[in-house]
């Protein structure tokens, strides 16, 4: 097994179970920005909000497209910063929950 084959099964996004191989495949199908890759593979849409997967996905994208990491824009951050239960967003206090 080559290094690339071994890496292809490495989980990059553990919220959505996306592997390095799946990311490379999507990039080669033309999903060659993080916004597109996010929507195609669902990386960065889980509980961690992309904190875990985005830096790695960005490096893979840079390697596959021959760009510098800094040239690749990050997707827009979304509120809330950490997932919050609907009851708290609605104004309920913890003790009544």
């Amino acid at each position: 097994m080559t290094e690339k084959e071994r890496n292809s099964e490495v989980i990059i996004c553990r919220c959505r179970d996306v592997t390095e191989g799946e990311l490379r495949e999507a990039i080669n199908e033309g999903y060659d920005t993080l916004e597109l890759l996010k929507r195609k593979t669902k990386i960065a849409t889980g509980t961690c909000g992309g904190r875990t997967c985005l830096p790695m996905a960005r490096s893979i994208l840079a390697a596959e497209t021959g760009k510098d990491v800094e040239e690749i824009p990050l997707p827009r951050e979304r509120s809330p910063i950490i997932p919050i239960p609907i009851r708290f967003a609605a104004g309920e206090k913890e003790e009544t929950a």
Binding site: G30, T33, E35, L36, R39, K40, K42, T45, G46, T47, G49, R78, S79, P80, P83, I84, P85, I86, R87, A89, A90, G91, E92, A97
Partner: protein
Amino acid sequence: MIDKDVIIIGGGSTGLAIAYYLAQKGVTEVLILEKDYVGSGSTGRCGSGIRAQFNDRPTVEMMKRAETGWNQLSEELGFEFNQSGYLYLHYTEEDLNQYREMRDFQNSLGVPTEILSPEEAKGICELIDISDVVGASFNPEDGKAHPFEVVTAFRKFFRESGVELKEGTEVVDVNLRKGDGLKLVETRDKTYQTTTLVNAAGGWAPKIGNMLNLDIPVEPYRHQAIITEPFQQGSIEPMIISMHHEDAYLTQTPRGGIIGGVGTPDWEQPTYDMTESLEFEKRVSEAFGSIIPGLKRARILRHWAGYYAMSPDGNPLLGEYKIPGHYLAAGFSGHGYMMAPSVGEGLADLILEGASDLPLDYYDPERVDRGELRQGALQMG
């Protein structure tokens, strides 16, 4: 010299569907110019719902055809159109009676809407709190399709069919050439010439209009939505609507998240600012928790804003506008995504044949200049 037969500005569901139907009718010398990426505007920000439960004949006809179109597209392009229905919950007898009349009207146009008892509504989604519900309306042919799966499927089709889709390509100017009236569509890299230009730029349609010194009566209103973490997979199949809870709508995505929103408050003004607001997060949470108490435990994962591109009467502007060969497909007022297949088919016919069997006259954009405003289409969210 002409570069393309048709140039479409805007790579959202509307522009993509028009290009698709042009290609189906044999015209593939088509260029779509998208300033960001496919679906990056209102399409990718929408709640994914598709319904024919409207209260005026043209919209019901457009949406009935659109649902047939969604079925065909899902088979031909390979994405899921889940006909899990739209379930309107009613909390007063007055509302229920109004929707009984609407059911009769929709039935007369071939839309199989039915009125359900609270218990029957609970049979469709067990999690609904029916203690204050007096009845519900349900059309099993309504449904949902995931916007990104849809635009992705179109993108793949265009790669294979010869339609050119240029993403990351902003139109910076449009001019008419003196003499022959050719449209010169300028991007940062290149200027394209065409006889036929379609403005399908959604909330940004007026900006394109300005380039041609046209005042396009569309205003972008911010509209927000949320998605939760996956929640009891398969538990909320239909799109659930409650006019009683600030026009709330919610459903479950294929991956289990609950997606939806509540209506835009009256104080919202037209804006190009797409920043989300905490005030919305509170209102949507109160509504969702009241309709389905179990959702109080669900955690909000993301919250975003998009546009309802409002026309003066809340109905689309479809057809040739002011300049021969210049078409508008804009001002959908919150219904552009769901209507895309019939708009695509209708505009393709209008461009190629000069006529369509769909009720496009109703949506003639020049009605606004003539002061012939229509009844607003039934709005929510």
